[in-house]
């Protein structure tokens, strides 16, 4: 480029000066939770005072927290399984085929992402009772519905990378449609399926609003438990719980990054 060195240096310094506050803004919430969870102070004031595992001990000693952790895992796993079962075939079809109603189908699949969750939560609260869905089944079904669009989108974008001639090649070599699906289509879309599964899991793992309506006092998930705690009386147990959630999410993010990195090599 013909711009002088001086000019580009001031430009990049200026950019850096603006960038630092944005990076702080992005990272701040993730960075304060961990220190607060080890603070001895009960009121969570800055700077954290002392160092203690008390809140974690309290957390793991509490039957409620342990039960909600188990429920959260159950719901997230079941809803992810449902989302994959429904979303992977749909994503592959949307990625590999062109038909008249394709775009409308896509729109219908994307809509659940934007309808306010409060509206969905109240509607599900009403309708799932008739359908006999409650606790684990109700929560998993609801979370699968809001997680499945992500599975469809990621699977679809992987499927669009597949050369459709490969599927014809498989047929000419003697594979029937089912064998073609399992030996060729699915392995080639693997990356999208895995990312979709993780997104669906995280969506369920985090979800509060719908879970608030569909859970019962005996079947609560972590976010429901946290919400109740935050809106009543905040103490560092919540920070400890938040830290646990944060660490789990970070582990997942690291897993995806490593996966992507190893695949790109």
């Amino acid at each position: 480029m013909s711009t002088s060195h001086q000019e580009s240096r001031t430009a990049s310094l200026g950019r850096l000066a603006l960038l630092v506050p944005i990076v702080i803004l992005l990272l701040a919430p993730s960075l304060v939770i961990l220190p607060m969870s080890f603070s001895e102070s009960r009121v969570m004031s800055w700077p954290p005072r002392g160092f203690t595992f008390d809140w974690y001990v309290a957390l793991f000693a509490s039957g409620q927290w342990v039960a909600s952790s188990r429920h959260s895992v159950e719901v997230a796993l079941l809803s992810t399984a449902i989302a994959l079962l429904l979303g992977v075939p749909a994503g592959l079809t949307l990625g590999l085929k062109v038909w008249r109603w394709r775009e409308l189908t896509l729109a219908l699949v994307v809509v659940p992402l934007v309808i306010p969750t409060v509206v969905l939560a109240i509607g599900m609260y009403k309708v799932y009772v008739w359908l006999g869905l409650h606790d684990l089944l109700g929560l998993a079904a609801a979370h699968a519905m809001i997680g499945v669009p992500l599975v469809v989108i990621t699977t679809m974008s992987s499927a669009r990378q597949i050369n459709p001639v490969l599927l014809l090649a498989a047929r000419s070599l003697g594979a029937n449609p089912f064998k073609t699906f399992f030996f060729v289509t699915l392995p080639l879309a693997r990356g999208g399926v895995i990312s979709g599964a993780i997104f669906a899991f995280v969506t369920s793992w985090d979800e509060v609003v719908i879970a608030n309506f569909l859970s019962s006092p005996t079947y609560r998930t972590i976010p429901v438990q946290m919400w109740a705690q935050i809106t009543e009386r905040v103490d560092p147990t919540v920070a400890a719980m938040a830290s646990v959630l944060f660490v789990v999410s970070m582990a997942m993010m690291a897993g995806v990054t490593v996966l992507r990195w190893s695949r790109s090599r």
């Binding site: 050369n163 001639v165 490969l166 014809l168 090649a169 047929r171 000419s172 070599l173 003697g174 064998k179």
Partner: protein
């Protein structure tokens, strides 16, 4: 391997309102190497897809080895297909790619291994079984694709522009290899291409497609020397065509009138007389068309001259207004804009009726 014959009977195919095949019929003998040649959109690839079973014809039928294929899905047809861009499964190594059709047929692991290694040595890729497709060169990938298509001993082998992605030098090498493979295996091959040199040099017979119809079928020499239409003449190589008019056995030429000679079955009315580059002589410029002992000399102007290895490829405009391609010795040193003349032997000309729909040869270049 057991070679089988193919019979295509009056095949019609349309996509929506667009008809791509208008009743195509063709018999391919067992063990024959047939090329389907034509411009893109002429229907040759659709024909291949119908034989493979990827598409169903709207009417008409395909039989292979006397067995009708109607309603039989691709995986039950036992046809090997080699695709244009290799189409190797990127998530499988070379051995698994080649083993795929054997695995689909439930062959034991040990037998698969034997077959894979023997077919790998057949295509000169011994020891590369553990490589992934993206670690191979284009030529190697094409060999793997061929190996995968023949390893299960298919009844016929279909090849869809298999060398299209390779560079020129590699393409000629691979042409010879495929030819050798055909002779060695004796398998029936249907080879789709838009490259006339490839079709002419490899096949037992060439089938020329145009706008969803078969324009001509024949031995390479026959279709090159005796094209049945201006389209075939033009598509198969360089030529020069001179407008003329036939009345009974009289041919009215720009330089005068003369009687037809060796050509039998003359068409009536407007025709084109056609010569291939090697049937014309380039001579010194003259002023007017002269006719002398069945040899016609026509003044011409060189529009462009391109060096093409051993010859100079000249695009010329005759004084009659016809445009065509001739070849001159590269020692002739002729440049664009120069005046020359062409000497044409009337007994060597191919006489083609001028259909209203035909494009004028040479005009495309």
């Amino acid at each position: 391997m057991t070679a089988k014959a193919i019979k295509l009977d009056n095949i019609v195919k349309a996509y929506g309102t667009q008809k791509v095949l208008h009743g195509v019929g063709l018999d391919v003998a067992a063990g024959e190497f047939v090329s389907m040649l034509g411009p893109s959109g002429s229907g040759k690839t659709t024909m291949l897809k119908i034989i493979a079973g990827f598409e169903d014809p709207d009417s008409g039928s395909v039989s292979i080895g006397g067995r009708p294929m109607t309603g039989i899905v691709p995986e039950h047809r036992n046809i090997g297909v080699v695709f244009q861009n290799y189409s190797l499964f990127p998530h499988m190594d070379v051995a698994s790619n080649i083993g795929f059709p054997l695995r689909m047929r439930g062959m034991s692991k040990a037998m698969q291994k034997d077959r894979i290694s023997s077919v790998l040595s057949l295509v000169a890729l011994d020891g590369l079984g553990a490589r992934m497709p993206n670690e191979l060169s284009g030529g190697q990938q094409q060999r793997v694709a061929i190996a995968r298509a023949i390893v299960f001993e298919p009844d016929i082998l279909l090849m869809d522009e298999p060398l299209g992605a390779l560079d020129r030098r590699l393409r000629t090498d691979m042409q010879l290899e495929i030819k050798a493979l055909h002779e060695r295996l004796g398998i029936t091959i249907v080879y789709v291409t838009h490259d006339q040199e490839e079709a002419l040099s490899m096949s037992d017979r060439v089938v020329v497609f145009n706008k969803g119809r078969i324009e001509q079928v024949g031995h390479p020499r026959e279709v090159y020397r005796h094209p049945s239409s201006l389209f075939v003449a033009d598509f198969l190589g360089d030529s020069l065509a001179l407008s003329a008019h036939i009345n009974g056995t009289d041919i009215r030429l720009p330089g005068g009138l003369m009687t037809a000679g060796t050509q039998s079955e003359l068409p009536e009315g407007a025709v084109k007389l056609l010569w291939r580059p090697d049937q014309m002589e380039v001579a010194a410029p003259i002023d007017a068309v002269t006719l002398q002992e069945r040899r016609l000399s026509v003044p011409a102007k060189v529009l462009t001259a391109a060096y093409a290895g051993t010859v100079l490829r000249l695009r010329v405009e005759l004084s009659t207004g016809d445009i065509g391609i001739v070849a001159a010795s590269d020692r002739a040193n002729i440049a664009a804009g120069e005046s020359i003349s062409l000497v044409l032997d009337l007994d060597e000309a191919t006489i083609l009726p001028l259909a209203a729909s035909d494009d004028i040869p040479g005009a495309r270049r």
